[in-house]
């Protein structure tokens, strides 16, 4: 009876406060609840993919440090992470000490490092490289994001309005174009129907009229189905989001950073069982051309602590096995540091996968500092689309070949 109770509560809150559920589309909410009682879609079950984009180009060499490689210490006189401070993963590689929070995940075998991820003829432009990663197309012929095709189709055919949620001010291209199927939330506080500040008492009548006006707009009026789906989706997702947040009791203490707040929101949606399949959020600031050491350590600390809290929370709530986190950045950075104690745009870099079904470990060989390209950048070993294909096929149960245009070798990183 949980569903029924949740429905009644939501409807009630909406009618009384008029702030959460725009009591408009109760009919649609009932429909969504009815749909929710159907069997889950076969593809991918109820698994969740959370993507954390490290925007600006994360310095891979200082994230997963080749702490036995003398060449690394030679070309990074001021920026190199000293061997005695790294968190050793293998005999050759160790994590930046600011990532201490991830140590438990590593020990538990739930953190995977994919080394030297990239693609041929890499672009050193932020814009182009992001575009390439988001559309999964180094040839730049595709317009739609690598997840848009999946979100709109195979992953969730149940029409859960919160099936794909991106946090921020722009819908990430990975989920875009066409943007149907993904919900963008800048801040939960502003993800509402705004009211007349002068006359809050008018709101209930306004909502009622709005509801009736939209219900009266029916086929064959132009785009009637689109308006119904859209307004309904808005009503349901407003109700679900705010109810999920209002009732959520995290089992871990989250840091007060925006990144951690975003992950907490995803944890709340996962716990609420509202059909979240893809969550997307971004941590900016990785374009560390100058005075990198301090800034980069702060970024990694923020990342590690947010992920660790998210992970602890999910595990405590019993959702660890349902969630996979993927981090990515548009490129790594130049192997040699520059004259401003920073690093310029580079190429291949490691990325992280973490989750209850991840087979922990390092995949791929450590970066080869003796075999750089003419720009002094690392050569890639694992095509980023192999990572995507693995996630699509092994995690989301989607057709990776259809989504990416061709087959890529899968990585044995997921159980």
């Amino acid at each position: 009876m949980l569903r029924r109770r949740a429905f009644l509560t939501t409807a009630l809150v909406g009618l009384n406060a008029g702030l959460i559920l725009p009591n408009l589309f109760v009919r649609a909410l009932a429909q969504a609840q009815a749909d929710g009682s159907r069997p889950a879609p076969a593809a991918g079950g109820n698994r969740v993919l959370v993507i954390v984009q490290l925007a600006g180009g994360n310095d891979g060499l200082n994230t997963v440090v080749p702490y036995q490689d003398g060449r690394y210490y030679t070309v990074r006189p001021t920026l190199a992470i000293q061997p005695d401070t790294v968190l050793p993963l293998t005999a050759e590689l160790g994590l930046h000490p600011a990532l201490t929070a991830l140590a438990d995940l590593w020990t538990a075998g739930r953190l995977a490092v994919i080394e030297s991820v990239g693609y041929d003829h890499p672009s050193l432009s932020h814009f182009e490289a992001m575009d390439i990663w988001q559309t999964a197309d180094p040839e730049r012929g595709r317009r739609s994001g690598w997840l848009a095709r999946v979100v709109a189709g195979a992953v969730d055919n149940q029409g859960h309005p919160l099936g794909a949620v991106a946090l921020g001010t722009h819908l990430p291209p990975a989920l875009c174009c066409p943007p149907q199927g993904a919900t963008l939330i800048e801040r939960p506080e502003t993800f509402r129907l705004a009211t007349d500040p002068q006359h809050p008492d008018v709101e209930a009548a306004r909502r009622r009229a709005l509801e009736r006006l939209y219900r009266a707009y029916r086929p064959p009026a132009p785009y009637a189905a689109l308006f119904e789906t859209t307004a309904t989706g808005a009503a349901v997702s407003l109700a679900q989001l705010h109810q999920a947040l209002a009732t959520y009791r995290p089992a871990a203490v989250y840091p007060t950073t925006p990144l951690a707040h975003g992950l907490r929101l995803f944890a709340a949606l996962i716990a609420a069982g509202v059909g979240l399949r893809v969550g997307y959020l971004l941590q900016g600031g990785y374009d560390t051309h100058a005075e990198q050491a301090h800034a980069h350590a702060n970024l990694l600390r923020t990342l590690g602590e947010a992920l660790a809290a998210f992970w602890a929370d999910l595990v405590a709530q019993g959702h660890g096995d349902r969630v996979l986190v993927l981090t990515w950045s548009e490129f790594g950075r130049r192997v040699a540091e520059n004259g401003s104690r920073g690093t310029d745009h580079g190429t291949a870099a490691p990325l992280f996968l973490l989750g209850g079904r991840v087979r922990g470990g390092v995949y791929g060989a450590p970066p080869d500092l003796g075999r750089l390209d003419p720009n002094g950048n690392l050569r890639f070993e694992t095509d980023f689309r192999s990572v995507y294909a693995t996630v699509l096929e092994k995690w989301l149960g989607a057709d990776a070949e259809a989504a990416l245009g061709r087959r890529f070798p899968l990585l044995p990183v997921l159980d």
């Binding site: 575009d131 174009c177 943007p179 149907q180 129907l193 008492d201 008018v202 006006l213 009266a216 407003l238």
Partner: protein
């Protein structure tokens, strides 16, 4: 399990106690349009909707006269707009100021088709703040406005020398021997012919013609003869030492170019699925007029299918059209601070299309997030008493706001929808006004603002 769902639906409806009566259902327009509706339609499509008085003025000119006045906009003074913008002292190096500047132009211009066509070009010949600074985009915007109705060859030749475009599609820095194919490919694929009407070889050869240019920080285009490939090139079957301008001529000589442009114009101005005979007719006009955009538009607006019921409210407004239209139709006074951010929430950051293909448009404009953002803009417009000044008296020909909610509503709908409401809609809105009542000291403030919000929220108002 349709049965089960239907039962739940019925229960939920009954529980609300607001069962839908047949009279409330909106019907699409099947009857012939009234003259008022036709002129309202023209001003929505060729502009951003009618400011108070504009439908009346257009009607007085007759259809052809109104179309010509829209097209011959250089004869219309835009002095008031320029003075209004100058007073804001905007800084065009700042993206938000640049975006405000353009949005306010759309809302307050006396030459609506000029801004509408500039918006059309921005969506077709895209460039973005992602790769060029705001002053470059400002310059491009002015170029597109200046040549908004020119022949397509002039526009394409100019845009290939435009600093923002040169950065966006990598003409800048492309050198002989290793030409960058980005611009050449999009010229053929997205700007003129479409896939299937050229070969990869044509892309490679055309790319050679665009080598040798750079753009400096100030936006100056510099030509470096040694970096330019002046060798023989074969493009679409024609061989010569072609440079950028000749490539445009060769490409536009292809029959597919006129068809392509006709389709784009018809989709933007008439309906998403233009019938084949319209495409053929407009393409023919383009071919015989040297690809004159003005000639094509004149024909489009004069063709009967432009104002046939099948075209009526068949387009979904872009966020810019929705926002500028609401401001314009209500003659709302605002400096526009905050509007660019609202537009972004609606899925359209001006000067930053999602990719080189521009905004996908159509149904893609509407989703949960963007719909909320549109309604929240409507709320801002209707209720932010500090940032927006509304003068309800100006909406009525008599210059006075009617005291009676019914008369107020009918007049406002005539403005905003450019036509009558359905009987069901009218009943719902009047019930709302009666329920919330008025403030004796200020009739407008409660039910008046509420009605403005609800009309802007109506599905019909999201359609052009």
């Amino acid at each position: 399990m349709p049965t089960r769902r239907k039962v739940i639906t019925t229960i939920a409806l009954a529980g609300l106690g607001a069962a839908l009566t047949l009279a409330e259902a909106a019907a699409p327009v099947q009857r012939p349009l009234t003259a008022w509706e036709e002129f309202g339609h023209l001003l929505r499509r060729a502009g951003f909707g009618a400011a108070p008085g504009e439908i009346e003025a257009a009607q007085a000119l007759g259809w052809e006269g109104a179309v010509d006045r829209l097209l011959e906009y250089t004869a219309v003074s835009n002095q008031d707009l320029e003075a209004r913008l100058a007073a804001l002292a905007l800084d065009m190096r700042n993206p938000a100021d640049l975006q405000r500047w353009w949005l306010l132009r759309m809302a307050y211009t006396a030459r609506p088709l000029e801004e509408k066509m500039t918006l059309f070009w921005h969506g077709l010949l895209t460039s973005s703040l992602a790769k060029a600074p705001a002053p470059f985009l400002f310059r491009q915007n002015q170029f597109l406005r200046e040549h908004a109705l020119a022949d397509y060859g002039t526009i394409l030749k100019g845009i290939a020398r435009d600093p923002a475009m040169m950065r966006w599609l990598d003409i800048a820095g492309s050198v002989r021997g290793r030409p960058n194919e980005n611009y050449a490919r999009e010229l053929l694929e997205l700007f003129t012919l479409g896939v299937g009407h050229y070969s990869e070889r044509d892309v490679q050869e055309a790319a050679r013609a665009f080598t040798g240019f750079t753009v400096d920080r100030a936006g100056q285009v510099v030509f470096h003869p040694p970096r330019h490939d002046d060798g023989l090139k074969t493009i679409l079957g024609r061989t010569g030492r072609w440079g950028p301008a000749e490539v445009v001529d060769i490409v536009l000589d292809q029959p597919a170019a006129a068809v392509f442009l006709a389709q784009r114009l018809l989709r933007f101005f008439v309906r998403p699925d233009p019938p084949a005979d319209s495409v053929v007719a407009v393409a023919q006009t383009l071919r015989t007029s040297g690809l004159s955009v003005k000639a094509a538009l004149r024909q489009i607006f004069l063709r009967p299918d432009f104002r046939a019921p099948g075209a009526y409210r068949r387009l979904i407004k872009s966020p810019a059209e929705y926002v500028a239209g609401a401001l314009r139709q209500l003659a709302a006074e605002t400096d526009g601070v905050g509007l660019p951010a609202m537009l972004t929430q609606m899925g359209q950051t001006l000067f930053a299309p999602p990719n080189v293909a521009g905004w996908p448009g159509g149904p893609a404009w509407l989703n949960t997030t963007t719909w909320l953002a549109r309604l929240n803009f409507a709320n801002w417009l209707a209720t932010d008493r500090r940032r927006v000044r509304l003068d309800p008296a100006a909406w009525f020909p008599a210059g006075r706001m009617p005291a009676d909610p019914a008369a107020f509503l009918d007049g406002l709908a005539q403005r905003l929808l450019a036509g009558p409401m359905g009987a069901g809609q009218r009943a719902i809105l009047l019930a709302f006004a009666a329920e919330v009542g008025g403030d004796p000291a200020d009739r407008f403030d409660r039910w008046g603002r509420g009605l403005v919000y609800l009309l802007l929220a109506l599905p019909e108002f999201h359609l052009a």
